[in-house]
Symmetry: C2
Subunit: 159 residues, 2 copies
DNA sequence: CGTGAAACCAACATCTA
DNA sequence: TAGATGTTGGTTTCACG
């Protein structure tokens, strides 16, 4: 699967605005609409473009608080890891979960309505879990930058 | 701005699949297509639905590595904070940046092609910045869960 | 329910490695 | 020759009023 420069150009736009029309993309990437269409189909079929999602303003919803949690497990056995991963995936309030090197084993990004709601979440995730040694919580005061957009250019010189 | 249960239903679906058709949404939310359309327009106009983006497979791009970084500043003065925030926003490889309570001041989520690329990023972000006291890096071994979708239900009982 | 826009798909000529 | 591109046209789906 190779991605050429035109593909990168398309992906860059779509990562910011998935509603861009084929003609928009054609203009931006200096390709014909037909070519753009073929490329998009290929990128979707190959799973490079995985899905399209709507970004919803969190403040309007009731999930006003965000948390970063560092989790340390008692034992790092693969079955224990998988158990924890599944628990994280099952929990809607866990937005993101990363298995990492370093002092912590997992980094979680969670949302909650309020402190009480968050406390119940920690109960479900940690206190009911024998294998969690400790966890450290940081409350998010400012979501300075939020996004999943990835720089698609191999290096700065190619732009 | 109040969001009723039907709105929550719509948002819930759109957060996962922004390509759902109006008829799909109408069926899922037990509303008429016309009503869905009006609600969507209102949600978009009010900025509740901010934008639609494509999720791109990171592995296909060259940003194969992810990092979680805890940053501690020397002094927490507002102008220093703003300076750091701007630097994070300017840097495309910084996907997410949170200003948090606790032992660290900022939590960053970054991507890089390789270790060398990452090292250059840390140089730009930290070594050139007088105000950064220390930073701790965790390498992401497994992106167990990645998403921005937020549970839109005020509490579990309403589902 | 009608209209228009845009996505989708197929066919064909062209160009190049 | 094989692969990608541009052009065109026809069909269908869907958003919008």
């Amino acid at each position: 699967m190779d991605i050429d420069e035109s593909d990168r150009h398309l992906l860059e736009v779509l990562q910011e605005d998935a509603n861009a029309t084929i003609n928009d993309l054609a203009f931006a990437s200096h390709l014909s609409p037909a070519s753009v269409q073929r490329r998009l189909k290929r990128l979707r079929d190959k799973g490079v473009i995985q899905r399209q999602v709507a970004i919803v303003d969190q403040n309007v919803l009731d999930q006003k608080m965000s948390f970063v949690i560092l989790v340390e497990l008692e034992r790092e056995r693969t079955d224990q890891l998988d158990t924890f991963k599944r628990a994280a995936q099952r929990e809607p309030q866990v937005q993101q979960c990363y298995y990492v090197t370093g002092e912590a084993d997992f980094v979680l990004l969670c949302v909650a309505r309020d402190m009480d709601d968050f406390e119940q979440l920690t109960r479900r995730l940690f206190f009911d879990n024998e294998n969690v040694r400790r966890f450290r919580t940081s409350v998010v005061m400012d979501r300075t930058k939020v996004g999943l957009a990835v720089p698609v250019w191999p290096d700065d010189t190619e732009r």
